[in-house]
């Protein structure tokens, strides 16, 4: 799997979105070239009519390579996840849950889980769900990520904290009923620094949503985030001062 990265040719620097889709579909395109095309696709703008085709190709790529132990594949899978989730219509978001499924044949690398949780959060920020919208599969997967990763043994380790933070914020945006249980779990942490960070990000994100959606579309999401922040801030100074050692 570990082939050298093939530099794009002069023609590929002029690659159009249509040309890129054609090359991704071409069965003779090798692994290294396919990775490169996926990475280039992330920074390209596609016509609305091309997004369905693009996302079908990206989904196939993600499912084929997400279990790879080649770091170059995982970089490309990260690109594919970001573009796939960012470009998809909100109605397709529940399908992302299967990518987080811990029961898959192999545990997805943590970096893949991080990109998925991050992009679900970003998708919901751009499309704040209303109180009638339900995403049960995603709700379950994100709850599982928070349950497993938001603990004192893991949070300070590379990528675990970032994955847990994105999962916490996405979960609260998805389902206000989760606020109490998430807050309870975070209050039980000795890692006061993580609770403080989650509260700050929830509050800042809530304010940002209220500014961007002045038509009231984000009121439900903003209220949920504000509630989480308030519940976490109530507990500050409680369980412990965490790791606030001055240097």
């Amino acid at each position: 799997m570990s082939e050298p990265v093939i530099l794009v040719s002069a023609q590929e620097t002029e690659l159009t979105s249509r040309g890129l889709l054609q090359r991704l579909q071409d069965a003779t395109t090798g692994d290294a070239r396919r990775r490169r095309l996926v990475i280039e696709a992330e920074a390209m703008t596609f016509e609305p009519g091309q997004v369905g085709e693009l996302n079908s190709l990206l989904r196939t790529f993600i499912e084929e390579y997400r279990d790879s132990d080649d770091p170059q594949d995982i970089v490309a899978v990260g690109s594919a996840i970001r573009k796939y989730v960012a470009a998809m219509p909100l109605a397709d978001l529940p399908g992302v849950a299967a990518l987080l499924d811990a029961g898959h044949k192999a545990q997805a690398p943590l970096s893949v889980e991080l990109e998925i949780c991050k992009m679900v959060f970003r998708k919901l920020l751009a499309n704040p769900p209303g109180d009638k919208q339900e995403f049960p599969e995603l709700d379950w997967c994100l709850t599982d990520v928070v349950r497993v990763y938001a603990n004192d043994r893991l949070l300070s380790r590379e990528k675990y904290g970032a994955t847990a933070l994105n999962a916490v914020l996405a979960l609260v945006l998805l389902n206000g009923d989760r606020i109490a249980s998430v807050a309870q779990q975070l209050r039980a942490l000795k890692a006061g620094w993580f609770r403080e960070l989650a509260a700050r990000q929830a509050r800042n994100t809530s304010r940002d949503l209220m500014q961007r959606f002045q038509d009231g579309k984000a009121d439900f999401s903003a209220r949920n985030l504000e509630r989480l922040a308030a519940e976490l801030e109530q507990s500050s100074g409680g369980a412990d001062a965490g790791t606030t050692s001055p240097r």
Partner: protein, 224 residues
């Protein structure tokens, strides 16, 4: 001292303190800033140091860069852990950018931070200038170093801009790529502003952001 010129006498630096590299053409003009990747017990002028910084692309301690000054906000362990999450959150975006044909695609000059978005507004990835990366990493951890509202950033002319980005004065195309329209001046957040923001008492750094002035492009800052 929160910010200082480095000399032959060694000083310590801690992980995610701010490291600065000067222009070779304009004395004391701060050309680049980044974060120390690790603690260093002895740091001298022109030491080659691994940084977490926006090259572009983002580097997380792989290479080294010669530094001439540094600044610290006396970060606590909590701050460091929070900054680490900011870096982890964006690192994969920059790993991809390092492979992409146009590495500048994830760098911005004006504003200091911006996003690449899809049609519905979903952010696919973030872009930063070198100063922008440091400012936003610290903001994420609740430390607002610098006022960055466009109307309150000092205007920068072509001469200083070229010291920050060598070759940009001669290239209208490069300026256009970085959204620097016309002949300037432009309200660009320069690397020196970050270092001068740290050149204050530690409690002031945590209490309020620094208002940059034109002389802050240099360190020590010039009084104009």
């Amino acid at each position: 001292m929160p910010a200082q010129l480095l000399r032959d006498e060694p000083v310590p630096a801690h992980r995610y303190d701010v490291a600065a590299h000067d222009s070779q053409d304009l004395p004391n003009f701060v050309q680049h800033v980044g974060l120390f990747a690790d603690d260093r017990s002895e740091l001298r002028r022109n030491d080659q140091v691994p940084l977490v910084h926006m090259g572009p692309p983002l580097e997380t301690g792989e290479g080294t860069i010669a530094i001439q000054s540094m600044g610290t906000a006396a970060l606590r362990t909590d701050d460091i852990l929070q900054i680490q999450i900011f870096i982890d959150d964006r690192a994969a975006e920059y790993e991809a950018a390092g492979i992409r044909q146009d590495k500048r695609a994830q760098y911005c000059v004006l504003p200091h931070v911006e996003s690449f978005q899809e049609l519905d507004g979903t952010v696919t990835y973030w872009k930063f200038s070198c100063a922008g990366f440091v400012i936003e990493a610290y903001r994420f951890a609740g430390l607002d170093l610098l006022i960055t509202d466009q109307g309150r950033i000092p205007p920068v002319g072509l001469h200083l801009l070229d010291a920050a980005y060598p070759g940009i004065a001669a290239s209208p195309r490069l300026r256009a790529h970085f959204k620097l329209q016309g002949d300037g001046p432009w309200n660009v957040v320069l690397a020196g502003y970050v270092l001068n923001a740290l050149n204050r008492p530690a409690d002031a750094i945590r209490r309020e952001p620094h208002q940059p002035t034109r002389g802050d492009a240099f360190f020590p800052g010039h009084r104009m």
